[in-house]
């Protein structure tokens, strides 16, 4: 692997890690609201959250580029306070990745929170736990598997994205060129050996991630009820 490949790989990993962390932060309250709220807005918000699942990545990337570019609303607003446009920059990639991977975090979290059920939360309330206390001491630990799933999905999905990153980042080596784009470049220039090296690295990485997930899952098997509950209420895109 040459220095440029390594750099691309580092950018991919940094992007995936940052996107995952930010998404978990943003999506936890959103998923909680979707799972437990009573608002009529939940249906349209649910649909909106699922949109990136069905949208071609290039479409998403294109609109984001227009939105974030120097002439777009976000670009102009940022320019007004003296900040550069996020288009063709790492921060632009993070924004794009977050939107693209949003459903992969919101949906498992939402389902995990819904799976906690209202009963244990009611019990906690009668034991004098405040709403925030109930969330931290009951909902979070009982939804922990959902967080695991969400984090792995977001990380892996961000690592593999291509269309959005290409549209927003513009394939700038060392700044916005991720591993998946670097592989494309190698293949384009018929450097199959280079494409192979980077691709193999990604395959191994993906395998390690899945191994971690399944190992974590096995450990929980013996927690009878919890596991059964998981099977019943687990997310639809489990890898088995």
């Amino acid at each position: 692997m040459n220095a440029e490949d390594l750099l691309a790989l580092t950018i991919s990993l940094r992007l995936a890690a940052l996107t995952t962390a930010l998404l978990i932060l943003v999506c936890t309250p959103l998923a909680w609201w979707l799972a437990t709220g009573r608002s009529h807005w939940r249906t349209p918000i649910n649909a909106l959250v699922a949109l990136p699942l069905v949208l071609p990545p290039t479409v998403l990337g294109f609109y984001l580029l227009v939105f974030m570019g120097p002439a777009g609303p976000l670009g102009r607003a940022l320019a007004a306070v003296g900040l550069p446009s996020p288009a063709f920059s790492f921060s632009g990639l993070v924004i794009g990745s977050m939107l693209y991977s949003l459903p992969f975090v919101v949906q498992p979290l939402r389902d995990a929170f819904a799976g906690v059920g209202s009963r244990v939360l009611e019990v906690a309330a009668t034991l004098r736990a405040s709403p925030f206390d109930r969330f931290v001491s009951v909902a979070l630990p009982l939804a922990s598997r959902g967080f695991m799933t969400a984090a792995v999905l977001a990380f892996a999905h961000t690592l593999g994205e291509f269309g959005v990153v290409l549209m927003i980042g513009g394939n700038i080596p060392g700044r916005t060129q991720t591993a998946s784009i670097a592989i494309f470049n190698h293949a384009e220039s018929l450097d199959y050996a280079g494409a192979n090296r980077l691709s193999a690295a990604l395959v191994i990485l993906a395998l390690l991630l899945l191994l971690a997930v399944y190992a974590g899952r096995r450990e929980r098997r013996d927690v009878g009820q919890q596991a059964r509950q998981d099977v019943r209420q687990g997310p639809p895109w489990r890898w088995s």
Binding site: R119, V120, E122, V123, A124, A125, T126, L127, R128, A129, S130, P131, D133, R134, S137, V138, P141, L142, V223, G224, Q225, Q226, Q229
Partner: protein, 358 residues
């Protein structure tokens, strides 16, 4: 001091129209058929459900109009029908969850004390999922107590259990009744549980509270549909006076005198409740002699109510400070010329013990 409740709720075909004051001493059973609104009312008291209601507990307004004190600030313990233990904690963790949230000012219940009371010592390290239904419910009750509630609400805590678990848990509940200083509201549709545990009874019918009164008073009211009429009866409270090992009998002192029952395991001085079915009580005007019936109490006749079948009459009696029911034929009532105020003797053929506490 009372728990004042007024609820006006219409939800499709279901209507809850409640206007009552429940006593805040001892155990009050909220009794009624399934679907009569018992659970809804209990959830409203706990603040788990926000109904158009006014709830005032011992002078503290919990809910009225826009004012709504959330559940966690009401200080109510709640035992649900199916024990909902936290699956991410073992038994001790479940108990400590409550313990850690005890308010500093409230009278504290100690972990040790509650563990002893509900017999949980062996279970402390078990995971919630490994427990039997009865054990889980016992842990749930202990957990509710450890939060030092001002009021304990129990929603048919035995209804999801099999007979064996019920039998295992009932003595604990009985013991609880004697130990607890806080008021308990106990939802049930089982007259047996009510007779065993309740001091007061609130009768709920089709979303309305028909009566709130001391248990014996409602049990002896002929106009109320309490239980199957075949098993209509009442309870007497007493303490174990002495044992008579030679005949395998124990004597229970009730306010009207002594009753002999099959020998009990509990020591003299323990509080017990006995149940006397109306069909097991016969009446005589003279003190009976040379009879096989050993339990005879002097009684005063309160009133007579002919039963719907035309053959039987339900007789309400005062024995000491308590009430007793006798079911006799209408012919006997006429032949004996029974009338309110008469002094007579109640012969009790069988006495069922309700509290083997200990």
């Amino acid at each position: 001091m009372a728990l004042e409740l007024s609820v006006a709720l219409t939800r499709g075909p279901f209507a809850l129209q409640v206007e009552c004051a429940l006593p805040t001493r001892g155990v009050t059973a909220l009794f009624g058929r399934s679907g009569s609104g018992k659970t809804t009312l209990l959830r409203c008291i706990a603040g788990l459900e926000r109904l158009p209601a006014r709830v005032c507990f011992d002078g503290v307004l919990w809910q009225q109009g826009r004012r709504f004190l959330p559940t966690h600030q009401r200080g109510v313990g709640y035992v649900f029908q199916e024990a909902s233990l936290f699956p991410h904690h073992d038994v001790r963790g479940n108990l400590q969850y409550a313990l850690r949230r005890q308010p500093a000012a409230a009278p504290h219940m100690q972990l040790e004390e509650v563990v002893e009371l509900l017999g949980l010592r062996e279970l402390l390290k078990q995971r919630a999922q490994a427990l039997s239904g009865g054990e889980r419910q016992r842990v749930a009750i202990a957990r509710a107590l450890l939060a030092s509630p001002r009021l304990l609400l129990m929603d048919e805590p035995l209804s999801s259990l099999d007979e064996q678990s019920k039998a295992e848990i009932l003595p604990h509940l009985t013991r609880l009744r004697e130990t607890l200083a806080i008021p308990v509201i106990y939802v049930s549709h089982s007259i047996g549980e009510v007779m065993r545990l309740a001091d007061h009874l609130a009768l709920l019918q089709e979303g309305r509270v028909r009566e709130v009164a001391p248990l014996a008073e409602l049990l002896t009211r002929a106009d109320l549909p309490l239980g199957i009429s075949e098993h209509r009866g009442t309870v007497l409270s007493g303490v174990i006076d002495s044992h008579e090992p030679r005949y395998h009998l124990s004597h229970v002192r009730v306010s009207a005198g002594l009753l002999a029952v099959s020998q009990l395991a509990a020591a003299a001085g323990s509080a017990v409740r006995v149940r006397v079915d109306a069909r097991d009580v016969s009446l005589t005007l003279l003190p009976p002699e040379r009879t096989s019936i050993i339990n005879v109490l002097a009684a005063t006749l309160i009133d007579l109510t002919p039963e719907a079948d035309g053959a039987q009459t339900l007789v309400r009696l005062r024995v000491g400070e308590e009430l007793l029911l006798a079911r006799i034929t209408r012919r006997s009532a006429e032949q004996l010329a029974l009338a309110p105020g008469m002094a007579l003797y109640a012969q009790i053929k069988s006495v069922a013990l309700m509290d083997p506490s200990g």
